[in-house]
C-alpha cells in the first residue's frame, strides 16, 4: 500500500479513550483497504482484550466537509476519516 493509514496511532487512541463503537470513513481510493483496518482492529481485540466494534461508512467521503449525520444512533464513541485534514468552514460560498 502506498499510504500510511497510521493504524498504531489509531489503536493507541482507541485504548487510551476506551472507545467501543467507532465509525470509519474512507475516500474512494482507500475504501478497498477498509478490510485491512478492520482486520487489524479485530486482531487487537483478540490479542489485547479490547472491545472495539468498527463500522465502515458506506457512503460518500468527499472531504472533511462531508462527515456523516446520524451516527449517534449507534452510540458512536469515535468517528475516523482518512485522507483529509481539518476543514475550516466559512459561512456562505464565494
Amino acid at each position: 500500500m502506498n499510504y500510511d493509514l497510521e493504524l498504531e496511532k489509531l489503536k493507541s487512541y482507541l485504548k487510551e479513550h476506551n472507545c467501543k463503537t467507532i465509525v470509519l470513513q474512507f475516500p474512494d481510493g482507500l475504501k478497498v483497504f477498509a478490510d485491512k483496518v478492520i482486520d487489524e482492529l479485530d486482531k487487537m481485540n483478540q490479542e489485547e482484550g479490547t472491545d472495539v466494534m468498527p463500522i465502515i461508512w458506506f457512503g460518500t467521503c468527499f472531504g472533511a466537509c462531508d462527515i456523516p449525520l446520524g451516527l449517534n444512533q449507534f452510540k458512536t464513541d469515535l468517528f475516523v476519516q482518512w485522507g483529509h485534514n481539518v476543514f475550516n468552514r466559512v459561512e456562505g460560498w464565494k
Partner: protein
C-alpha cells in the same frame, strides 16, 4: 426538529370501474388496501365491492401502518397482514407498483399465489400482478439465500435512517454465524453500485428496507439478502412454498 406528515389525500370521487369489478368477481374473499392517499375513500369502496354478489371483502391494519386499509412498501411479509382466514386475492386502490408488489412478494413463503388486482383511479384502469410478474424476483432471492449459506465474508449494511435502522438486531449475526466474517457498514442509502468500492465483500446483508434486498436486487449482480431472512435461512429454504417451488 419536529416533523409534520401530510397525507396528500386524493380529492376526486372514486368508483371502481366495471373491468376491475369483473376481475374481482372471480374471487370469493378479497383483501382491500391502499396507500395513505386513498384510505379515506376505502370504506365506500368496500361498500361498493360488497354489492358484488359472492364477494367478501376483508382488510386489516398491518403493524407499521397508522390506519385500517393502509399498506406500506415494507408489508412484504405475510404475517404483517394478520389474516384470520385465508384470502383469494388482493385488491389495491392507487397508482404505481411499489405497494401492490409488496402484497405479491409477501406470499413468497405461502403455498399458493393470490393475484393482486390494482384499480388505478388516475387512469381509470385495471392492472393485474400475476405470479409470472414476481417469478424473477423470487428466483433471484432464493439463489441469494442459497449463496449466503456458503458465503464466508459478508458485508452488513446498516442505515442511519431512524425508521429503518436495525443495528442492534444485526449484531446478533456474529453470534448466529461464528464461522462467517462480517464487515459492518453504515450509510444513509444502500446503493448496489457502491458495493463495488468494497471488493473484499462478495455477499451483502441488507438491514434497511426489505424491498432493497427483494425487488431492487434483480437489477444488479450483487448477491444480497435481508437481515431477518439471514437468521432463518435454513427454515426458509426447507419450506415448501412459492419461493422454493418457483
Amino acid at each position: 426538529m419536529k416533523s409534520l406528515l401530510i397525507d396528500a389525500r386524493y380529492n376526486k370521487p372514486l368508483k371502481i370501474n366495471q373491468d376491475t369489478l369483473d376481475e374481482i368477481k372471480k374471487h370469493k374473499r378479497v383483501a382491500l388496501y391502499a396507500a395513505v392517499q386513498f384510505i379515506h375513500l376505502l370504506p365506500d369502496i368496500k361498500k361498493q365491492l360488497e354489492t358484488v354478489e359472492g364477494v367478501e371483502v376483508v382488510t386489516s391494519k398491518p403493524d407499521r401502518t397508522d390506519a385500517n386499509y393502509q399498506i406500506l412498501g415494507c408489508d412484504c411479509y405475510w404475517q404483517n397482514y394478520q389474516f384470520a382466514d385465508d384470502i383469494d386475492a388482493f385488491v389495491y386502490i392507487g397508482d404505481g407498483f411499489f405497494h401492490p408488489l409488496a402484497m405479491a412478494l409477501a406470499q413468497r413463503d405461502t403455498a399458493k399465489y393470490r393475484p393482486v388486482i390494482i384499480y388505478d383511479p388516475k387512469d381509470d384502469k385495471k392492472i393485474l400482478i400475476d405470479l409470472e410478474r414476481i417469478a424473477p424476483i423470487l428466483r433471484r432471492y432464493r439463489s441469494s439465500l442459497m449463496k449466503f449459506k456458503n458465503a464466508d465474508i459478508v458485508g452488513v449494511f446498516v442505515t442511519t435512517k431512524p425508521g429503518q435502522q436495525q443495528y442492534k438486531m444485526s449484531l446478533k449475526l456474529k453470534e448466529k454465524f461464528p464461522d462467517k466474517k462480517f464487515y459492518y457498514f453504515a450509510g444513509d442509502n444502500f446503493d448496489y453500485a457502491k458495493t463495488e468500492e468494497f471488493p473484499f465483500c462478495k455477499f451483502w446483508i441488507n438491514t434497511a428496507c426489505p424491498r432493497i434486498g427483494l425487488d431492487d436486487q434483480v437489477n444488479y449482480k450483487v448477491d444480497t439478502i435481508n437481515l431477518m431472512d439471514a437468521f432463518d435461512v435454513d427454515k426458509i429454504l426447507s419450506k415448501d412454498c412459492l419461493l422454493t417451488r418457483i
